[in-house]
């Protein structure tokens, strides 16, 4: 046995709970075989999950670091690894390594500020970690606004948690929207970028964006129109990754490696990178 540490060698993890969120998103609860958390992380960081023989992929950790019992991953079915995971049952082991990447600056930059979280579809997954972190340390942050949109009511991730917990918190405003009208939905209908403009937020806050590239593009334009500076807006990127530690070269954009220097970027930082993400 070798005494050197090696980040590429993962730990074994066990799925202890599988929650069906939407038709194509499930949330997996993962602990080590002895029931502990695999490692500590900060909001916005990622972990590499793998199924031997199927492949390894990077996922953002959905649960808040304040959860000391387990980690959660909300995963959309879209490739080899995710399809396999969606068939997995409770008790299935997988491998896990991490945490990777830089977290959101929750304790310095965000502290004391009003927060605006804007998410589309499965883009809520990385933000849920920050939102719950902010809710846990509620007194450190000002007003919290959450704008979340999806294709339909059935595609809203964590819907129950949003309605039962987030929406009932003091000082937390939740604004939900879906793309097209639907029976049983009396909330807002329309795309996220337009909804953001309609809601017309004050610029006395920090915005965190995550969702499909097209939504990010137009929402950023919307925020700019409302008077937000790029330095006030954060997002988290996703590219193909293999090593997770800035060596395999896959997620290299400009002089940055998304796995190591990201995935969290401020929009003015992105301006200095080539448009290849």
């Amino acid at each position: 046995m070798n005494m050197r540490e090696e980040t590429l060698i993962p730990k074994v993890g066990v799925i202890t709970d599988v929650r069906i969120d939407t038709p194509d998103i499930k949330t997996f609860r993962v602990v080590t075989p002895d029931g502990k958390k695999a490692f500590d992380h900060r909001p916005g960081q990622c972990a590499m999950l793998s199924i031997p023989g199927v492949g390894e992929a990077m996922f953002s950790i959905t649960s808040s670091p304040t959860n000391e019992e387990y980690m959660e991953f909300s995963i959309k079915k879209c490739g080899c690894v995710t399809e396999w995971l969606h068939q997995a049952e409770v008790g299935q082991q997988l491998t896990i390594r991490g945490p990777y990447g830089n977290p959101f600056p929750v304790d310095d930059v965000f502290a004391g500020n009003n927060m605006l979280f804007i998410a589309g579809g499965v883009g809520l997954a990385p933000l849920r970690s920050v939102i719950n972190y902010c809710r846990h340390y509620r007194d450190r942050y000002g007003k919290i606004d959450i704008v979340y949109g999806s294709r339909s009511k059935d595609d809203l991730l964590d819907y129950k948690e949003i309605i039962d917990e987030w929406a009932t918190d003091a000082g937390v405003n939740v604004h939900l929207t879906i793309d097209n009208p639907q029976d049983g939905w009396d909330g807002h209908v329309g795309f996220v970028p337009n909804y953001v403009k309609e809601l017309g937020f004050d610029t006395d806050k920090i915005a965190v964006l995550c969702g499909p590239p097209i939504m990010i593009k137009f929402t950023l334009e919307g925020l700019r129109a409302l008077g937000f500076e790029k330095t006030q807006v954060y997002t988290t990127l996703e590219l193909r990754m293999k090593c997770g530690v800035g060596k395999c070269g896959r997620c290299n954009v400009g002089a940055k490696y998304v796995c190591k220097d990201g995935p969290v970027f401020r929009f003015d930082e992105l301006d200095e990178l080539p448009d290849e993400y």
Partner: protein, 340 residues
């Protein structure tokens, strides 16, 4: 400085091979050279350099990382790493020696790649000064002096003699094994040789190639250069340049199901390949232009930006010799860097 007669070279190799596994360039049947393990009867090649770079010794094309046993829902991970044994790479050129420093800055920074680190610690590099550079050489562009190669031991080969100089502790130790076969020497012959080689170096066709216009902070300016279209238009998208390159270090991690377990291994990958950045939801580099640009931007701008201005090219000229369509970093630098 020590010296020995070239006639005694096979005795020297035999002595080194007693203590270490020894690799040196030997001629292949197609008139190219390749690093092979020394055994009785091996003949040291006179070729300027090997087709495959010596990065293989530290970062092999494919290596197993770990093994898994999967039973039902359970997974068992086996750490199969083994500490490398001491080995000597003999006759590494100055450019290739420099390439190890470039790889070090990727693999040895935190978190250290233990596979690479183990080999690096146990590898002893005996470098060889150049006397007859080729027209494809441009190491001087990157500040490398081919007459003064780094490494644990540097050697200079004249018509009749081999001159040795240990640069590190590992090198001293290696030299001590061949102490009885070598004798003290002055630097006169070596100095003369350096002088002569330097004259040739100045006359090389690429002697004026400069890195002006590249380096840290040039990302946006160079990324948006119009010439990328033209330079990349006939690129076939093969991986020849990346695989013969001593500094290319991108890799892929893959699983192989053997039927009685899963081996996770890593292998070289190339940013020139269309699926390099392909994800389930799309690809952020859709055309060959973007992939081509990435390779050169990484070597000439991104890497220096992260590594104190050190370029990720050593001017060994392998890609110049091997590209199927003869498109290469020298042409890119001339076109993009603005020098005509």
């Amino acid at each position: 400085m020590r010296k020995c007669s070239l006639e005694k070279i096979n005795l020297v190799f035999a002595e080194i091979a007693k203590a270490y596994t020894l690799y040196l360039p030997t001629d292949q049947n197609d008139s190219s050279a390749k690093f092979t393990k020394w055994e009785e009867g091996s003949v040291w090649s006179n070729a300027l350099n090997t087709v495959r770079s010596p990065k293989d010794f530290f970062f092999p094309q494919a290596e197993d990382l770990m093994e898994f046993k999967v039973e039902g829902k359970n997974i068992d991970i086996t750490d199969i790493r083994q500490e490398s044994e001491d080995f000597v790479i003999f006759g590494v050129r100055a450019c290739d020696v420099k390439s190890f420093e470039i790889l070090d800055r990727v693999f040895l920074v935190d978190p250290v790649d233990s596979f690479y680190a183990s080999r690096r610690e146990h590898g002893i590099i005996v470098s060889l000064a150049c006397t007859k550079p080729s027209e494809t050489c441009f190491c001087t562009t990157f500040g490398i002096d081919c007459t003064e190669p780094a490494g644990d031991v540097s050697i200079w080969k004249t018509e009749t003699e081999l001159y040795w100089q240990a640069n590190t502790e590992k090198g001293e130790k290696l030299l001590s094994y061949v102490d009885s076969l070598t004798e003290d020497a002055n630097t006169k012959a070596v100095d003369e040789q350096k002088e002569k080689t330097s004259v040739v170096m100045k006359k090389l066709p690429l002697a004026n190639l400069t890195t002006d216009g590249f380096g840290a902070g040039k990302t946006m300016e160079l990324f948006n250069n119009e010439a990328w279209d033209e330079l990349s238009q006939t690129c076939l998208g093969c991986g020849t340049c990346t695989f013969v390159c001593p500094t290319c270090q991108c890799y892929d991690i893959k699983d192989f199901d053997t039927g009685n377990g899963v081996i996770r291994y890593r292998c070289w990958d190339s940013c020139m390949y269309s699926e390099f950045t392909k994800m389930a939801h799309g690809n952020n580099r859709l055309t060959q232009k973007e992939r081509f640009r990435q390779r050169f931007m990484h070597k000439l701008v991104y890497y220096p930006e992260n590594n104190d201005g050190l370029y990720s090219c050593v001017g060994c000229g392998r890609c110049l010799a091997k590209c199927p369509i003869s498109m290469n970093i020298a042409k890119v630098m001339k076109k993009i860097g603005g020098e005509k």
